[in-house]
Symmetry: C2
């Protein structure tokens, strides 16, 4: 259904305040969920609100918003999220990375003790909007198979980078490590479609293009075979090994675990491009590259060659112009359940 | 043919010294080529020596080994490789990043004015061997198609990270952005094999599994579709935009260009893990992760689940044990041509 932007923003802030977050933190998580929803990444938008609240109610997720800085130096810090909402922790960690970058050019922050990461691209966008390069990543519960494995062995770890551009705004790359999500596989099964080669294996680890094998115990495969597997491992080592967060099978699935998971690890990097030269000059160089790629010869049936994040930014611009965002009916029903329980509205 | 390690090392050093490099620089490039050859990555080993020498003779590549530091701060530097051999420039740039990391925890170095990168994994291994995390990448001449494009639009940009481990030594991930190399496609055509879906497009941008279409004007595709395309763009922005190096179609192919290309851009990062805690503790955590993945249920026909770099390190260990390395006959013939011309041996 169509929901006015101001309306969903106010309702979300009220919910998170009622749940115990400070006004500032309630605004942070609301902005992240709202922007993610407007970008069309509904899986990381208000769909998650009810579960976040339930985790807060059960005590699995804390609301004091305080994070401990365990190691601090001019360009590098390590923090403990102390079981706060992963989005609030991540926002604060990237802010800290950006402050360091403003001073020294480079800011890196490792995080442990966090929860569900939310949309990786939000944090890197914060950098790109401030003439910085951003990188963000997080590990998660095991969901995809290492190359050669017949079962879940490593997280479908989100990874994002962003780079500021000129007329194109910014490049925002935001991926997970599987070819596609489990939702998409299940959906394709319902529609009687076949999967492309390499997307999943069946319960015995055999290659299959039948999406029905997924729910019979199949496993998602990393994108690009062993190359995607190695990227998942990069996130694990940079995002969790260094900070001391839980790794691979020791990460509990936050959306099903009784205690809402916990001790997830993240990695954030910000580079202030103004230290190396004129930001406008760099942005123009990025625009030129995008122009060149967009103007290249297209394959049959292709109207536009996109750069990373372009489609999502267009969706968001439309929402801002229209003043509303399209939110799934079931998601809004879950928001209303929370409001009712909290005596809001 | 089998060539003794000491023999090829001495012969290579003599060649590069004769070509005008200092003894130190001749040793640097020799060690990189030799280790790469021992790892089995023959495409970036001594196969390239003759071309490097020819580029030095034509003046396209310089031998003074001096690089200019254009920007310098405690955790970040930008350097100009001044048309020296890409491997020599890259080695020195990563050394600089590691010196910064030793002091401040973090070292990042952007490079412009360089040449052919060589094996990305060598530089990150330098970090892992010194209790540091390493990241390295370089852009290159356009070779793969952006998603939706029917032609070459972006470089097949090498990317590597490495992380120190305990009993497993280190994880060294080293990839290019295509599913496979052009050599492999041509080889599969000769053998009458079909390609997996998604590896190449034909000259009009249509999907094809016929490797014969490649030499008729086809183009390599990025691994994992748009996800690999975005990784190629990350390397372009981090590796070339920031340093002011040439980008995409302005990068000339070093192996065919009359002037041997030039102004390639690289990006190096080193993180000293000892700043955050006991290196041994982190290494043990990595070992545990690898053990867990290796001990997971295997797909039919799979004997071993590998971690990134494991196969290459085993090949190198065998060479060091045997005292010799297997080098392609044509490659050794090219080395002898150079020696003859230089009046060596």
């Amino acid at each position: 259904m169509k929901v006015a932007i101001d309306e969903i923003r106010n309702r979300s802030v009220a919910i998170f305040e009622k749940a115990g977050l400070s006004s500032d933190d309630a605004e942070i998580i609301t902005e992240v969920l709202l922007e993610t929803e407007m970008r069309g990444v509904f899986t990381h938008g208000f769909l998650r609100l009810e579960r976040y609240i339930n985790c807060i109610k059960s005590g699995g997720i804390k609301t004091d918003g305080s994070i401990d800085v365990l190691y601090d130096s001019p360009s590098w810090a390590a923090v403990d999220g102390k079981d706060n909402l992963g989005i609030v922790v991540s926002y604060k960690a990237m802010k800290l990375a950006m402050e360091k970058a403003k001073q020294t050019g480079v800011g890196i922050v490792n995080v442990k003790g966090s929860h569900h990461f939310g949309a990786a691209g939000y944090y890197t966008s914060m950098c790109a909007d401030n003439d910085m390069v951003g990188m963000s990543m997080s590990n998660g519960d095991i969901l995809i198979a290492a190359t050669g494995s017949a079962e879940k062995t490593i997280g479908n770890n989100p990874f994002s980078y962003a780079f500021p551009a000129g007329k194109y705004g910014k490049i925002v790359y935001d991926i997970a490590m599987s070819y596609t999500s489990d939702r998409k596989v299940v959906q394709m099964d319902k529609e009687g479609k076949k999967l492309p080669e390499g997307w999943i294996i069946d319960k015995d680890g055999n290659a299959t293009t039948d999406p029905g094998e997924y729910e019979k115990g199949g496993t998602l495969l990393p994108f690009g075979g062993y190359k995607g597997y190695g990227m998942a491992m990069m996130v694990e080592t940079l995002g969790a090994t260094l900070s001391g967060a839980a790794m691979t099978k020791n990460v509990h699935a936050w959306n099903t675990d009784e205690k809402c998971g916990g001790n997830v690890g993240h990695f954030f990097m910000a580079l202030d491009i103004s230290k190396l030269g004129s930001p406008d000059a760099y942005k123009n160089r990025v625009d030129d590259m995008i122009d060149e790629i967009k103007n290249s010869k297209k394959s049959a049936g292709v109207d536009t060659i996109y750069y990373p994040g372009e489609i999502e930014m267009a969706k968001m611009a439309k929402c801002l112009k229209d003043g509303y965002v399209e939110i799934d009916d079931d998601t809004m029903a879950s928001v209303e359940r929370v409001e009712k329980e909290f005596g809001l509205k």
